[in-house]
Protein backbone atom coordinates (compact mmCIF):
# COMPACT_ATOMS: atom_id res chain seq x y z
CA UNK A 1 0.00 0.00 0.00
CA UNK A 2 1.46 3.32 -0.99
CA UNK A 3 1.69 5.59 1.97
CA UNK A 4 2.31 9.25 1.29
CA UNK A 5 5.10 10.04 3.75
CA UNK A 6 5.28 13.73 4.61
CA UNK A 7 8.33 14.02 6.79
CA UNK A 8 8.83 17.75 6.19
CA UNK A 9 5.61 18.62 8.03
CA UNK A 10 6.29 16.17 10.88
CA UNK A 11 9.90 17.27 11.34
CA UNK A 12 8.80 20.87 11.83
CA UNK A 13 6.93 19.78 14.96
CA UNK A 14 9.95 18.24 16.71
CA UNK A 15 10.93 21.37 18.68
CA UNK A 16 7.34 21.80 19.84
CA UNK A 17 7.15 18.14 20.96
CA UNK A 18 10.53 18.30 22.69
CA UNK A 19 9.24 21.01 25.05
CA UNK A 20 7.27 18.18 26.68
CA UNK A 21 10.43 16.47 27.87
CA UNK A 22 10.56 19.04 30.69
CA UNK A 23 7.33 17.71 32.15
CA UNK A 24 8.41 14.11 31.49
CA UNK A 25 11.61 14.58 33.51
CA UNK A 26 9.92 16.65 36.22
CA UNK A 27 7.18 14.04 36.65
CA UNK A 28 9.73 11.21 36.80
CA UNK A 29 11.93 12.97 39.38
CA UNK A 30 9.10 14.11 41.67
CA UNK A 31 7.41 10.69 41.51
CA UNK A 32 10.70 8.93 42.27
CA UNK A 33 11.32 11.13 45.34
CA UNK A 34 7.85 10.62 46.84
CA UNK A 35 7.58 7.03 45.64
CA UNK A 36 10.87 6.17 47.33
CA UNK A 37 9.84 7.91 50.57
CA UNK A 38 6.53 6.04 50.47
CA UNK A 39 8.35 2.79 49.74
CA UNK A 40 10.61 3.19 52.78
CA UNK A 41 7.62 3.96 55.02
CA UNK A 42 5.68 0.98 53.66
CA UNK A 43 8.68 -1.33 54.08
CA UNK A 44 9.18 -0.19 57.68
CA UNK A 45 5.48 -0.66 58.40
CA UNK A 46 5.53 -4.15 56.91
CA UNK A 47 8.68 -5.19 58.77
CA UNK A 48 8.12 -3.79 62.23
CA UNK A 49 4.67 -2.19 62.33
CA UNK A 50 1.67 -3.41 64.34
CA UNK A 51 -0.44 -6.18 62.81
CA UNK A 52 -3.25 -3.93 61.51
CA UNK A 53 -0.71 -1.66 59.79
CA UNK A 54 1.05 -4.65 58.24
CA UNK A 55 -2.23 -5.87 56.81
CA UNK A 56 -3.17 -2.41 55.54
CA UNK A 57 0.17 -1.87 53.79
CA UNK A 58 -0.01 -5.38 52.34
CA UNK A 59 -3.41 -4.64 50.78
CA UNK A 60 -2.05 -1.35 49.42
CA UNK A 61 1.03 -3.06 47.98
CA UNK A 62 -0.85 -5.93 46.35
CA UNK A 63 -3.53 -3.66 44.93
CA UNK A 64 -1.18 -1.13 43.37
CA UNK A 65 1.18 -3.80 42.06
CA UNK A 66 -1.55 -5.85 40.44
CA UNK A 67 -3.74 -3.25 38.75
CA UNK A 68 -2.83 -1.32 35.59
CA UNK A 69 -1.18 2.06 36.04
CA UNK A 70 -3.69 3.42 33.53
CA UNK A 71 -6.65 2.76 35.82
CA UNK A 72 -4.73 4.15 38.80
CA UNK A 73 -4.11 7.38 36.92
CA UNK A 74 -7.72 7.70 35.81
CA UNK A 75 -8.92 6.78 39.28
CA UNK A 76 -6.83 9.46 41.00
CA UNK A 77 -7.73 12.05 38.37
CA UNK A 78 -11.49 11.48 38.10
CA UNK A 79 -12.61 9.36 41.01
CA UNK A 80 -10.83 10.71 44.08
CA UNK A 81 -12.09 14.31 43.58
CA UNK A 82 -15.65 13.00 43.45
CA UNK A 83 -15.64 11.47 46.91
CA UNK A 84 -13.54 14.19 48.49
CA UNK A 85 -15.90 16.80 47.01
CA UNK A 86 -13.05 18.73 45.46
CA UNK A 87 -12.85 20.02 41.96
CA UNK A 88 -10.68 18.09 39.50
CA UNK A 89 -7.01 18.47 40.45
CA UNK A 90 -4.40 19.77 38.07
CA UNK A 91 -3.49 16.93 35.71
CA UNK A 92 0.18 17.05 36.68
CA UNK A 93 -0.67 16.80 40.39
CA UNK A 94 -2.93 13.79 39.77
CA UNK A 95 -0.27 12.08 37.65
CA UNK A 96 2.34 12.74 40.33
CA UNK A 97 0.10 11.27 43.05
CA UNK A 98 -0.82 8.21 40.94
CA UNK A 99 2.76 7.47 39.87
CA UNK A 100 4.00 7.92 43.45
CA UNK A 101 1.37 5.53 44.81
CA UNK A 102 2.22 3.02 42.09
CA UNK A 103 5.97 3.28 42.58
CA UNK A 104 5.64 3.26 46.38
CA UNK A 105 4.06 -0.19 46.22
CA UNK A 106 6.89 -1.63 44.08
CA UNK A 107 9.72 0.12 45.95
CA UNK A 108 8.20 -0.90 49.28
CA UNK A 109 8.84 -4.51 48.27
CA UNK A 110 12.34 -3.65 47.03
CA UNK A 111 13.28 -1.94 50.30
CA UNK A 112 11.72 -4.75 52.34
CA UNK A 113 13.73 -7.33 50.40
CA UNK A 114 16.87 -5.23 50.87
CA UNK A 115 16.43 -4.94 54.62
CA UNK A 116 15.55 -8.62 55.03
CA UNK A 117 18.59 -9.60 52.94
CA UNK A 118 20.91 -8.13 55.58
CA UNK A 119 22.09 -11.20 57.47
CA UNK A 120 21.07 -11.92 61.02
CA UNK A 121 24.74 -11.99 61.96
CA UNK A 122 24.94 -8.23 61.32
CA UNK A 123 22.11 -7.72 63.81
CA UNK A 124 23.75 -9.91 66.42
CA UNK A 125 27.09 -8.16 65.94
CA UNK A 126 25.51 -4.76 66.46
CA UNK A 127 23.64 -5.91 69.53
CA UNK A 128 26.82 -7.50 70.92
CA UNK A 129 28.57 -4.14 70.64
CA UNK A 130 25.86 -2.69 72.86
CA UNK A 131 23.98 -0.77 70.18
CA UNK A 132 20.29 -0.11 70.64
CA UNK A 133 17.80 -1.47 68.07
CA UNK A 134 17.49 1.89 66.32
CA UNK A 135 21.26 2.32 66.30
CA UNK A 136 21.70 -1.05 64.62
CA UNK A 137 19.11 0.00 62.04
CA UNK A 138 20.70 3.37 61.41
CA UNK A 139 24.36 2.45 61.43
CA UNK A 140 24.46 -1.12 60.11
CA UNK A 141 21.28 -2.41 58.48
CA UNK A 142 20.26 0.63 56.43
CA UNK A 143 23.73 1.33 54.95
CA UNK A 144 24.03 -2.31 53.83
CA UNK A 145 20.42 -2.42 52.61
CA UNK A 146 21.01 0.78 50.61
CA UNK A 147 23.63 -1.01 48.53
CA UNK A 148 21.22 -3.91 47.90
CA UNK A 149 18.35 -1.67 46.78
CA UNK A 150 20.26 0.65 44.43
CA UNK A 151 20.26 -1.68 41.36
CA UNK A 152 16.51 -2.45 41.46
CA UNK A 153 15.75 1.24 42.06
CA UNK A 154 17.77 2.05 38.92
CA UNK A 155 15.64 -0.44 36.98
CA UNK A 156 12.42 1.07 38.35
CA UNK A 157 13.69 4.53 37.44
CA UNK A 158 13.97 3.46 33.79
CA UNK A 159 10.45 2.02 33.72
CA UNK A 160 9.13 5.08 35.57
CA UNK A 161 10.64 7.28 32.89
CA UNK A 162 8.75 5.31 30.24
CA UNK A 163 5.56 5.13 32.33
CA UNK A 164 5.30 8.93 32.54
CA UNK A 165 3.99 8.65 28.96
CA UNK A 166 0.73 7.32 30.41
CA UNK A 167 0.12 10.70 32.04
CA UNK A 168 -0.75 11.89 28.53
CA UNK A 169 -4.09 10.12 29.00
CA UNK A 170 -5.11 12.60 31.71
CA UNK A 171 -3.74 15.48 29.60
CA UNK A 172 -0.37 16.13 31.22
CA UNK A 173 1.57 18.01 28.57
CA UNK A 174 4.58 15.68 28.40
CA UNK A 175 6.36 14.15 25.39
CA UNK A 176 3.73 11.68 24.24
CA UNK A 177 0.82 14.06 24.88
CA UNK A 178 2.46 16.64 22.65
CA UNK A 179 3.19 14.05 19.95
CA UNK A 180 -0.46 12.92 19.98
CA UNK A 181 -1.57 16.53 19.84
CA UNK A 182 0.72 17.28 16.90
CA UNK A 183 -0.51 14.11 15.15
CA UNK A 184 -4.13 15.15 15.59
CA UNK A 185 -3.45 18.59 14.12
CA UNK A 186 -1.29 17.53 11.18
CA UNK A 187 -2.77 14.03 10.51
CA UNK A 188 0.84 12.82 10.17
CA UNK A 189 0.19 10.08 12.74
CA UNK A 190 2.74 7.59 11.48
CA UNK A 191 5.59 10.08 11.08
CA UNK A 192 5.00 11.72 14.45
CA UNK A 193 4.69 8.44 16.38
CA UNK A 194 7.94 7.27 14.78
CA UNK A 195 9.56 10.55 15.81
CA UNK A 196 8.34 10.34 19.40
CA UNK A 197 9.45 6.70 19.53
CA UNK A 198 12.94 7.76 18.46
CA UNK A 199 12.93 10.58 21.04
CA UNK A 200 11.97 8.12 23.80
CA UNK A 201 14.62 5.69 22.62
CA UNK A 202 17.35 8.35 22.64
CA UNK A 203 16.25 9.56 26.07
CA UNK A 204 15.76 6.15 27.73
CA UNK A 205 18.43 3.93 26.20
CA UNK A 206 21.41 5.65 27.91
CA UNK A 207 19.54 5.41 31.21
CA UNK A 208 18.88 1.70 30.66
CA UNK A 209 22.59 1.18 29.96
CA UNK A 210 23.48 3.15 33.10
CA UNK A 211 21.14 0.89 35.08
CA UNK A 212 22.91 -2.19 33.61
CA UNK A 213 26.24 -0.68 34.65
CA UNK A 214 25.00 -0.13 38.22
CA UNK A 215 23.79 -3.75 38.34
CA UNK A 216 27.22 -5.02 37.28
CA UNK A 217 29.13 -2.76 39.67
CA UNK A 218 27.08 -3.75 42.69
CA UNK A 219 27.34 -7.44 41.82
CA UNK A 220 31.13 -7.18 41.61
CA UNK A 221 31.42 -5.71 45.10
Amino acid sequence: MGYNWQWDIALEWIPWILVGIGNTILLAITSMVTGLALGVIVAMARISGPAWLRRLTMVYTEFFRNTPLLIQLVWVFYAIPIITGNITPAAFLAAWVALSLNLGAFLGEVVRAGVTAVGKGQWDAGRALGMSQSQVYRRIVLPIATIYVIPPIATYWVSLFRDTSLASVISVSELFFRARWAATITFQFLELYIIVGVIYFLATYPQARAADFIHRRVRLN
Binding site: M1, Y3, E62, F63, R65, N66, T67, P68, L69, L70, I71, Q72, V74, W75, Y78, A79, I80, I82, I83, T84, G85, N86, V158, R162, D163, S165, L166, S168, V169, F176, R180, F189, L190, Y193, I194, V196, G197, Y200, F201, T204, Y205, A208
Partner: protein
Protein backbone atom coordinates in the same frame (compact mmCIF):
# COMPACT_ATOMS: atom_id res chain seq x y z
CA UNK B 1 -35.77 -11.27 42.69
CA UNK B 2 -34.16 -9.13 45.31
CA UNK B 3 -31.72 -6.57 43.98
CA UNK B 4 -29.18 -5.62 46.57
CA UNK B 5 -28.58 -1.90 46.52
CA UNK B 6 -25.84 -0.38 48.57
CA UNK B 7 -25.90 3.26 49.53
CA UNK B 8 -23.65 5.05 51.89
CA UNK B 9 -22.50 8.59 52.33
CA UNK B 10 -18.85 9.44 52.45
CA UNK B 11 -18.45 12.10 55.08
CA UNK B 12 -15.76 14.14 53.37
CA UNK B 13 -17.69 15.33 50.34
CA UNK B 14 -21.20 14.26 51.32
CA UNK B 15 -21.10 12.06 48.22
CA UNK B 16 -23.57 9.20 47.93
CA UNK B 17 -21.67 6.10 46.93
CA UNK B 18 -23.95 3.88 44.87
CA UNK B 19 -22.67 0.80 43.11
CA UNK B 20 -26.07 -0.45 41.90
CA UNK B 21 -25.79 1.23 38.49
CA UNK B 22 -22.42 -0.38 37.83
CA UNK B 23 -23.83 -3.79 38.64
CA UNK B 24 -26.79 -3.15 36.31
CA UNK B 25 -24.29 -2.50 33.51
CA UNK B 26 -22.12 -5.47 34.46
CA UNK B 27 -22.72 -7.27 31.11
CA UNK B 28 -20.66 -4.57 29.40
CA UNK B 29 -17.79 -5.10 31.80
CA UNK B 30 -18.02 -8.86 31.29
CA UNK B 31 -17.74 -8.45 27.52
CA UNK B 32 -14.74 -6.19 28.20
CA UNK B 33 -13.11 -8.90 30.31
CA UNK B 34 -13.45 -11.34 27.40
CA UNK B 35 -11.61 -8.96 25.06
CA UNK B 36 -8.96 -8.26 27.70
CA UNK B 37 -8.38 -12.00 28.09
CA UNK B 38 -8.21 -12.42 24.31
CA UNK B 39 -5.63 -9.66 23.97
CA UNK B 40 -3.65 -10.97 26.95
CA UNK B 41 -3.63 -14.57 25.64
CA UNK B 42 -2.69 -13.49 22.12
CA UNK B 43 0.09 -11.14 23.15
CA UNK B 44 1.41 -13.61 25.75
CA UNK B 45 1.69 -16.36 23.13
CA UNK B 46 3.40 -14.01 20.72
CA UNK B 47 5.74 -12.64 23.39
CA UNK B 48 6.82 -16.09 24.61
CA UNK B 49 7.38 -17.39 21.07
CA UNK B 50 9.30 -14.26 20.09
CA UNK B 51 11.21 -14.24 23.40
CA UNK B 52 12.30 -17.88 23.04
CA UNK B 53 13.32 -17.39 19.42
CA UNK B 54 15.31 -14.23 20.16
CA UNK B 55 16.97 -15.70 23.25
CA UNK B 56 18.10 -18.89 21.50
CA UNK B 57 19.16 -17.02 18.36
CA UNK B 58 21.26 -14.63 20.43
CA UNK B 59 22.90 -17.37 22.49
CA UNK B 60 23.43 -19.97 19.76
CA UNK B 61 23.37 -17.94 16.55
CA UNK B 62 26.18 -16.09 14.78
CA UNK B 63 27.45 -12.81 16.16
CA UNK B 64 25.79 -10.69 13.47
CA UNK B 65 22.33 -12.00 14.42
CA UNK B 66 23.07 -11.39 18.08
CA UNK B 67 23.95 -7.77 17.37
CA UNK B 68 20.90 -7.27 15.18
CA UNK B 69 18.57 -8.73 17.82
CA UNK B 70 20.20 -6.61 20.53
CA UNK B 71 18.80 -3.57 18.71
CA UNK B 72 15.31 -5.09 18.92
CA UNK B 73 15.69 -5.79 22.65
CA UNK B 74 16.98 -2.27 23.31
CA UNK B 75 14.05 -0.75 21.42
CA UNK B 76 11.62 -2.96 23.31
CA UNK B 77 12.88 -1.83 26.68
CA UNK B 78 13.47 1.83 25.88
CA UNK B 79 10.28 2.82 24.09
CA UNK B 80 7.09 3.01 26.19
CA UNK B 81 4.33 0.46 25.45
CA UNK B 82 1.89 3.26 24.72
CA UNK B 83 4.13 4.55 21.91
CA UNK B 84 4.61 1.04 20.49
CA UNK B 85 0.84 0.50 20.51
CA UNK B 86 0.01 3.73 18.69
CA UNK B 87 2.89 3.24 16.26
CA UNK B 88 1.83 -0.33 15.46
CA UNK B 89 -1.77 0.75 15.00
CA UNK B 90 -0.74 3.14 12.23
CA UNK B 91 2.32 1.31 10.89
CA UNK B 92 0.95 -2.23 10.58
CA UNK B 93 -1.67 -1.45 7.89
CA UNK B 94 0.99 0.34 5.84
CA UNK B 95 3.51 -2.46 6.36
CA UNK B 96 1.24 -5.36 5.39
CA UNK B 97 -1.01 -3.46 2.99
CA UNK B 98 -4.40 -4.38 4.43
CA UNK B 99 -6.68 -3.00 7.11
CA UNK B 100 -5.87 -4.18 10.60
CA UNK B 101 -8.41 -4.14 13.38
CA UNK B 102 -7.38 -2.64 16.73
CA UNK B 103 -7.42 -6.02 18.51
CA UNK B 104 -4.82 -7.43 16.09
CA UNK B 105 -2.72 -4.27 16.27
CA UNK B 106 -2.86 -4.36 20.08
CA UNK B 107 -1.80 -8.01 20.23
CA UNK B 108 1.10 -7.46 17.82
CA UNK B 109 2.26 -4.32 19.67
CA UNK B 110 2.15 -5.86 23.15
CA UNK B 111 3.71 -9.10 21.89
CA UNK B 112 6.51 -7.17 20.23
CA UNK B 113 7.16 -4.99 23.29
CA UNK B 114 7.00 -7.80 25.86
CA UNK B 115 8.89 -10.22 23.60
CA UNK B 116 12.02 -8.18 24.27
CA UNK B 117 11.57 -8.48 28.04
CA UNK B 118 10.77 -12.21 27.79
CA UNK B 119 13.85 -12.83 25.65
CA UNK B 120 16.06 -11.21 28.29
CA UNK B 121 14.55 -13.48 30.95
CA UNK B 122 15.04 -16.61 28.82
CA UNK B 123 18.59 -15.61 27.96
CA UNK B 124 19.37 -15.09 31.64
CA UNK B 125 17.90 -18.52 32.37
CA UNK B 126 19.96 -20.20 29.63
CA UNK B 127 23.18 -18.55 30.83
CA UNK B 128 22.45 -19.51 34.44
CA UNK B 129 22.77 -23.22 33.58
CA UNK B 130 26.01 -25.01 34.30
CA UNK B 131 28.36 -25.63 31.36
CA UNK B 132 28.25 -29.32 32.22
CA UNK B 133 24.68 -29.51 30.91
CA UNK B 134 25.87 -28.61 27.40
CA UNK B 135 28.82 -30.97 27.60
CA UNK B 136 26.65 -33.82 28.87
CA UNK B 137 24.14 -33.32 26.06
CA UNK B 138 26.93 -33.25 23.48
CA UNK B 139 28.59 -36.30 25.02
CA UNK B 140 25.51 -38.44 24.44
CA UNK B 141 25.37 -37.25 20.83
CA UNK B 142 22.57 -34.68 20.82
CA UNK B 143 22.30 -32.13 18.02
CA UNK B 144 22.02 -28.45 18.94
CA UNK B 145 18.20 -28.30 18.49
CA UNK B 146 17.82 -31.48 20.54
CA UNK B 147 20.11 -30.11 23.20
CA UNK B 148 18.02 -26.95 23.52
CA UNK B 149 14.66 -28.72 23.38
CA UNK B 150 15.43 -31.55 25.78
CA UNK B 151 18.08 -30.25 28.17
CA UNK B 152 18.57 -26.50 28.20
CA UNK B 153 15.14 -24.92 27.75
CA UNK B 154 13.18 -27.15 30.16
CA UNK B 155 15.60 -26.30 32.97
CA UNK B 156 15.95 -22.63 32.03
CA UNK B 157 12.19 -22.14 31.92
CA UNK B 158 11.64 -23.68 35.35
CA UNK B 159 14.32 -21.44 36.82
CA UNK B 160 12.80 -18.42 35.16
CA UNK B 161 9.22 -19.08 36.33
CA UNK B 162 9.11 -16.44 39.12
CA UNK B 163 10.32 -13.53 36.93
CA UNK B 164 8.21 -14.88 34.04
CA UNK B 165 5.21 -14.66 36.37
CA UNK B 166 5.79 -11.00 37.17
CA UNK B 167 6.47 -10.24 33.50
CA UNK B 168 3.19 -11.93 32.59
CA UNK B 169 1.38 -9.82 35.19
CA UNK B 170 3.00 -6.71 33.67
CA UNK B 171 1.71 -7.82 30.29
CA UNK B 172 -1.80 -8.39 31.64
CA UNK B 173 -1.75 -4.89 33.13
CA UNK B 174 -0.35 -3.40 29.93
CA UNK B 175 -3.34 -4.73 27.97
CA UNK B 176 -5.36 -1.86 29.47
CA UNK B 177 -3.44 0.43 27.11
CA UNK B 178 -5.08 -1.05 24.00
CA UNK B 179 -8.30 0.70 25.07
CA UNK B 180 -6.61 3.87 23.80
CA UNK B 181 -6.65 2.63 20.19
CA UNK B 182 -10.31 1.65 20.52
CA UNK B 183 -10.19 -2.00 21.57
CA UNK B 184 -13.37 -2.64 23.57
CA UNK B 185 -11.54 -4.24 26.50
CA UNK B 186 -12.33 -3.92 30.23
CA UNK B 187 -10.82 -0.42 30.51
CA UNK B 188 -12.70 0.76 27.42
CA UNK B 189 -16.00 -0.66 28.63
CA UNK B 190 -15.41 0.97 32.02
CA UNK B 191 -15.03 4.32 30.32
CA UNK B 192 -18.14 3.64 28.22
CA UNK B 193 -20.10 2.94 31.41
CA UNK B 194 -18.99 6.23 32.97
CA UNK B 195 -20.06 8.08 29.83
CA UNK B 196 -23.44 6.48 30.18
CA UNK B 197 -24.23 7.22 33.78
CA UNK B 198 -21.28 9.13 35.25
CA UNK B 199 -20.59 7.37 38.60
CA UNK B 200 -16.89 7.50 37.82
CA UNK B 201 -15.77 6.66 41.34
CA UNK B 202 -17.87 3.51 41.52
CA UNK B 203 -17.15 2.35 37.96
CA UNK B 204 -13.40 2.83 38.05
CA UNK B 205 -13.24 1.18 41.47
CA UNK B 206 -15.07 -1.88 40.10
CA UNK B 207 -12.84 -1.94 37.00
CA UNK B 208 -9.71 -1.75 39.17
CA UNK B 209 -10.97 -4.61 41.36
CA UNK B 210 -11.74 -6.67 38.23
CA UNK B 211 -8.20 -6.13 36.94
CA UNK B 212 -6.90 -7.20 40.33
CA UNK B 213 -8.97 -10.38 40.06
CA UNK B 214 -7.51 -11.00 36.58
CA UNK B 215 -3.86 -10.60 37.60
CA UNK B 216 -3.87 -12.36 40.98
CA UNK B 217 -4.56 -15.88 39.56
CA UNK B 218 -1.51 -15.46 37.30
CA UNK B 219 0.73 -15.00 40.34
CA UNK B 220 -0.88 -17.99 42.07
CA UNK B 221 -0.56 -20.15 38.94
CA UNK B 222 3.14 -19.37 38.48
CA UNK B 223 3.82 -20.03 42.17
CA UNK B 224 2.16 -23.44 41.92
CA UNK B 225 4.04 -24.32 38.71
CA UNK B 226 7.32 -23.24 40.26
CA UNK B 227 6.88 -25.31 43.42
CA UNK B 228 5.71 -28.36 41.40
CA UNK B 229 8.46 -28.29 38.77
CA UNK B 230 11.44 -27.16 40.78
CA UNK B 231 14.19 -29.72 41.11
CA UNK B 232 16.73 -29.22 43.87
Amino acid sequence: MIVMKQFWVLAAGGYNVDFSGVFDLAPFLVSGIKITLLVAAGSFTLAVALGLFVAVARVAGPRLIDQFLTIYVDIGRSVPDIVIIFLTFFLLPVAIGTDVDPVQAGIVALGFGSGAAFSELFRGGIYSLDRGQWLAGRAIGMSTPQLYRRVILPQAIVRMLPPLGSQTISLMKATALVSLIGVADLMWQGEAVTMWMSRRFETYTVVAVLYFLLTTPIAVLFNIMHSKLRVE
